[in-house]
């Protein structure tokens, strides 16, 4: 028994250490013991064995999910015997602001997802009006981890059990001094979340809900905390119709804590976000998402309606 545990552990440690060279490492160190009999699956590493579109797209903070909110799915094309990875670029444009998000994630054995992303929020002319200078930008770096703890969103069709995942996102804002001057308590913080995602296949419907514990103002682009420095439980949800194997359309909602505006009445209140999206996943390696997003008020009283365009590539 101990021998098998050691073998398992050795394989696990190598795979973790080799993350940047994952593809190479898995070719050199196959973790599968040799097959003994009859017909069996290939012994070398394989990739992208997941059903098309079941890894989701990438949300703005870098986790696999919809556009605004994480889902319980593990990103990338890897099954329980494989690893996968994706990279994404998302552009969000409102009348007054621009935001670009980009990053990458790796999915390990359909169990663990590690992600890194940056959100660059460009205040454009508003920055000049506020005395920060035209095009003043906030950059938020997000390091995320997500672990699938139970269920399978796709295959558990004989029960109501959804796929459940727990996640954390560490976020660090490069304008810590400024956001603190605006009334935030900190320039960095950690979000903790639990997501449950269920595909009701017989109805071609996907439902997902997330509870997030957060202190972040505008996902952290305006720092963390304000009127108080406590965690707020916020709800996020997605509902989507599977229109074909490669086309998904749906809506999302994401609640926000609104603590900064309560500390600094000069700033407009922070509103909940919602969107309507269409995602097209023409192959198992590519995904395009187009959305209309309502970001509500951001700093100024004007409501920000955004066009959201996202590209994801991976295996």
């Amino acid at each position: 028994m101990g021998r098998y545990f050691k073998l398992w552990r050795a394989c696990r440690v190598r795979a973790w250490a080799g993350a940047p060279l994952l593809a190479l490492a898995l070719h050199l160190l196959p973790c599968q013991p040799a097959a003994a009999a009859t017909v069996s699956r290939p012994e070398g590493a394989t990739f992208s064995g997941k059903l098309i579109a079941t890894g989701g797209v990438t949300q703005v903070e870098g986790a696999a999910g919809g556009g605004l909110t994480p889902w319980a799915v593990i990103g990338g094309g890897g099954t329980r015997e494989e690893v996968g990875a994706t990279a994404f670029f998302t552009a969000v444009r409102t009348h007054d602001y621009g935001m670009n998000a980009y990053g990458a994630l790796i999915g390990l054995w359909d169990r663990v997802e590690l992600s890194i992303a940056q959100n660059r929020f460009d205040t454009q002319a508003i920055g000049g009006a506020l005395g920060l200078g035209d095009g003043y930008a906030f950059t938020n770096t997000v390091v995320g981890v997500k672990v699938r703890v139970a269920g399978d969103a796709v295959y558990d069709q004989d029960s109501w059990m959804p796929q459940v995942a727990l996640g954390a996102q560490y976020k660090s804002n490069n304008r810590g001094t400024l956001v603190k001057a605006l009334g935030a308590r900190s320039g960095d913080g950690v979000d903790l979340y639990a997501s449950a995602t269920k595909i009701l296949l017989a109805r071609s419907l996907l439902l997902s809900g997330t509870v997030r514990l957060t202190k972040a103002n505008q996902t952290g682009l305006l720092g963390f905390g304000g009127a108080d420095d406590g965690y707020h439980a916020e709800l996020e949800g997605s509902a989507a119709l599977l229109l074909s194997r490669t086309l998904v359309a749906g809506v999302e909602y994401r609640m926000k804590p609104n603590t900064l505006a309560r500390a600094n009445p000069v700033l407009a209140p922070e509103d909940d976000w919602y969107d309507a999206f269409v995602a097209w996943l023409p192959t198992r390696n590519l995904a395009f998402t187009l959305a209309y997003v309502n970001l509500g008020r951001v700093v100024t009283p004007a409501r920000q309606n955004a066009v959201y365009l996202s590209l994801q590539a991976g295996f």
Partner: protein
């Protein structure tokens, strides 16, 4: 304020739209959508051809009795869809126990079925109703590594078997036939 109710409205529309159309589960209508018995037989012919062309699946079917598998699958699908059949074939777990089938191979199987259903113009919603009934079989068919085939070798320590006294130590020659 109306704008704030928009997402709720969209959510309700999204939820009710598919619910209004069709009920999940087997029904004679669903069976007819698949073309009844002739439709299922033709579907299985296409399906087996597609699996034989798929490099991930070919090894599992190359030496199998494909005619029998096709007939059993047709009767199983007929029963699942709500047609006038009862599946009397092998238990799914039993039928697949000796194969090392992983997620990748099972997903390839699903995708080939989707491909042939597309080819036969079966509507996507009807495809998903069938797939939802087939999905629970995954736990009977797939064994995530290490699969049961890689059992530890059976080893018996030399002193585990005590030979009782009175038993001849070793027979030098085979007994000659009379």
């Amino acid at each position: 304020m109306a704008a704030r109710r928009l997402p709720a409205l969209l959510l309700v529309l999204t939820l009710t739209n598919p619910l209004a159309g069709c009920a999940p589960g087997p029904s004679p209508d669903l069976y007819q959508t698949f073309g009844g018995q002739p439709g299922l037989v033709a579907l299985m012919d296409d399906y087996m051809d597609a699996m034989m062309r798929n490099p991930d699946l070919h090894p599992y079917f190359a030496n199998a009795n494909r005619t029998r598998i096709k007939a059993e699958l047709a009767s199983q699908f007929c029963a699942l869809l709500g047609g006038p059949c009862a599946y009397t074939g092998m238990d799914m777990a039993m039928a697949h126990a000796r194969y090392g089938i992983g997620d990748r191979e099972f997903n390839a199987l699903v995708q080939e079925l989707q491909n042939v259903m597309d080819k036969r113009s079966i509507p996507f919603a009807a495809q998903n109703r069938l797939l939802a009934m087939l999905a629970p079989y995954r736990k009977d068919i797939v064994h995530v590594a290490p699969p049961p085939r890689t059992r530890p070798p059976l080893t018996i320590p030399p002193d585990a078997v005590v030979v009782p006294e009175g038993v001849p130590a070793e027979r030098k020659t085979a007994p000659s036939r009379p």
